[in-house]
């Protein structure tokens, strides 16, 4: 049927993959030669060697005409890049949009395997960093002065970019501490108070749906593993703990996870919350038409929502997430990204300087907040009067940034990601996510998720601890 369409041919193997791999196999050979030829050009050969690069070397590199390639999906990032190029006229940055998130990572992985075509710097989300450090693809930025920046960034963001031996794998750019956006008008209409605890939240969900069967308190998207990870994070879970290179403990089925599974699985089963996939046409329509009274989201949510649910302007407000323990308010993170340097770069000094400048230079960092509406990762911006004082009319003049700035200080700093996040995400969708959508036993699904991940990790050669 599809014989003449471009997406598949009569080849019995998915041809784009195998063809690319074939071509890259030959490329890999020449890479091997190239690596031996210019061996020693890369000063960060092993992660143990962290001898700092001297200021003289840095000055020299920054004055040498160089072209660097930067893969990023951030719109209009040219403006921030221009600030860098103005300060270092010898360095030219070529900005390439290779897709957002997963599509870019797929291309990056292919280029890394091929040994050619990889950029010097990349946009990379916090959760994807371990996926690329396990393959030794990122450059430790410590020798290039990155450690000195630690104090400028919110503690938990620095924890997210740090390796187990203290490496600095990337520089934080923006963040997504989780909070709750809610419809003030719907809450008022049904006499619902903003829930402070998850118990209150569950009660409100039942009350609201009973009062109006067309409305649900929230939607927990059955395809959104990032939200689940964020909620796990808030609850204090440590689902993935890596130690050394090959040891990992996986506990996505521990007491904390089960508490979460019982809570959300229960609400889904009762039918008092929605479980439809998010960021689809139907989901946008639902937000515009008031099907959901809250959106459990992150700090990038407010700006996003004001662009996607214009019909509801002025009706939304922001609040922290409901808590498990009000005495110790906490939150998790969902989204945000960093700038990392690819280890194979021929110009590690200039590339590392770029990654640092882009996110720590006061003018550049502030521009991300004002131009791209990114939620900042630096302490100074989170206390910046202009930034936290912003009072958008979409939220009835509420100082939304202040709400999320306060939340950011409650995010736990020791949450870790697995070195095989894509697999964890797919397995979650097919077990836990599916149980939410199908209204089956979510706690049991957690067990299946645990088993699938453990099997995968063992097959990949990890030593797996935990249940």
């Amino acid at each position: 049927m599809r014989t003449f369409s471009s997406t598949s041919t009569s080849l019995p193997v998915p041809s784009p993959m195998s063809r690319r791999l074939f071509l890259t196999a030959t490329g890999a050979l020449s890479l091997g030669a190239a690596l031996t030829a210019c061996g020693g050009g890369d000063s960060g050969g092993s992660s143990a060697a962290t001898k700092p690069v001297s200021q003289a070397d840095i000055d020299k590199a920054m004055k040498t005409p160089t072209e660097l390639t930067f893969w990023t999906w951030v719109p209009n990032i040219d403006k921030e890049v221009a600030l860098f190029e103005k300060k270092y006229p010898a360095i030219k940055i070529k900005v390439v949009n290779a897709g957002q998130g997963t599509p870019q990572y797929t291309k990056l992985r292919t280029a890394l395997k091929a040994g050619s075509g990889a950029p010097d710097m990349v946009q990379i989300e916090y959760q994807a960093i371990p996926t690329f450090t396990i393959t030794n693809s990122l450059l430790d930025l410590r020798p290039y002065g990155a450690s000195a920046l630690k104090g400028q960034f919110v503690d938990w963001t620095w924890g997210q970019v740090s390796g187990s031996d203290g490496e600095v794998w990337a520089i934080p750019q923006d963040t997504g501490p989780m909070g709750m956006l809610y419809r003030q008008d719907i809450f008022d209409k049904h006499g619902i108070d903003v829930p402070k605890t998850w118990d209150e939240f569950a009660a409100a969900a039942r009350k609201l749906h009973k009062a109006d069967p067309d409305v649900y308190l929230t939607n927990l998207a059955a395809n959104q593993v990032a939200a689940w990870h964020g909620l796990l994070w808030q609850a204090g879970a440590k689902p993935y703990v890596t130690s050394g290179k090959s040891d990992i403990s996986i506990s996505v089925d521990d007491a904390v996870s089960r508490k979460l599974g019982e809570f959300w699985g229960g609400l889904a089963k009762e039918g008092v919350i929605g479980v439809e996939p998010d960021f689809t046409d139907a989901w946008y329509a639902a937000l515009n038409k008031g099907k959901y009274a809250t959106w459990i989201t992150a700090a990038w949510g407010p700006v996003f929502l004001s662009g996607s649910a214009k019909a509801t302007a002025g009706k939304w407000r922001a609040a922290p997430l409901p808590q498990w323990d009000t005495a110790k308010p906490s939150s998790g993170n969902w989204g945000g990204s960093t700038t990392a340097v690819i280890r194979s770069t021929k110009n590690p000094i200039a590339a590392a300087q770029f990654a640092q400048f882009l996110n720590s230079d006061p003018a550049s960092a502030k521009m991300f907040a004002t131009e791209q509406f990114f939620f900042p990762a630096t302490k100074s911006l989170l206390t910046d009067a202009d930034f936290v004082g912003d009072a958008p009319t979409f939220y009835g003049g509420q100082k939304v940034n202040q709400v999320f700035a306060d939340i950011s200080s409650t995010v736990n700093a020791s949450f870790q990601w697995p070195p095989f996040l894509d697999q964890a995400a797919t397995d979650w969708t097919e077990t836990v996510g599916k149980s939410l959508a199908d209204k089956t036993d979510t706690v049991r699904a957690l067990g299946t998720w645990q088993t699938r991940l453990t099997t995968y990790a063992k097959n990949q050669g990890f030593t797996v601890k935990g249940s």
């Binding site: 049927m1 599809r2 014989t3 003449f4 369409s5 997406t7 598949s8 009569s10 080849l11 019995p12 193997v13 998915p14 041809s15 993959m17 195998s18 063809r19 791999l21 074939f22 196999a25 797929t106 992985r109 396990i134 393959t135 059955a222 395809n223 290179k245 090959s246 439809e276 996939p277 689809t280 046409d281 139907a282 329509a285 639902a286 099907k291 070195p419 095989f420 894509d422 697999q423 995400a425 797919t426 969708t429 097919e430 996510g433 599916k434 939410l436 959508a437 199908d438 995968y456 097959n459 990949q460 050669g461 990890f462």
Partner: protein
Amino acid sequence: MTTATTTARARGRRRSAGPLFVAPFMVLFLLLFLAPLGYAGYLSLFQERLIGGTAFVGFDNYVQALGDSQFLHGVGRVALFFVIQVPLMLLLALLFALALDSGLLRLARVIRLGIFVPYAVPSVVATLMWGYLYGPDFGPFAQLSRKLSLPVPDFLSDSWMLGSLANIVTWEFVGYNMIILYAALRTIPHELYEAASMDGAGAWRTAWSIKLPALRPAILLTLLFSVIGSFQLFNEPSLLMKIAPDVISSSYTANLYAYSLAFTGQQVNYAATVSFLLGLVIVIASYAVLLTANRRRTP
């Protein structure tokens, strides 16, 4: 003597002309088909792990795949899809082709174009469009049934999904198959029709006894294309996955499974194994189709 050498030389030239003519094809065939195939076969004999690197494992991957329920279910699902969707689509294509060829339809050109146009729509666009139409909240079918107080059809649910996919694929490819059959019908010599009408055959009789037998090779061709297309089902489920993630898993079809193994699980070697086995399944299925068709021809 001279004549003998010239003919010998001419024969020699003729002998070397053949390989020269097929050379461009053979080069491309070797580079773009056999080499990747060989490379995939080679890959499938290894296992690369995140920890520990690459090791030769012989046929271990194949043993694993043959016992892998995700792979087997994927193949089973596309086989079911093939058995249900393809006869339906080809029957529709055949009916349209016969109707157009009968010359009895008004606006035949417009109808022909209308049936063919969906094929010109990229399958990605077609799937996105159908995905919206299927929507349980704001899709037109759902809204209509709500207006009429009928139960809302859940096109994206587990039990309907294969049918919904079959509908998309049928919509996309019925016109394409119709054109092949229609073109074959146009090649039937007119004398046959004249002879038939002289013998007193009506329109139905002509269709049954002349057109259908003449169409046999063309039908076989469309059937073979359909075997390959069905077993490689990828675009449509991969796109609908976004709006029905709980129904379409990463191993919904065998091709989808190979893709997610390679790009989600980073198990390139195992993905190559699965692809290779899928290729084998397609070869066997195509051969079975050919064999049954030929057996019927020579009783």
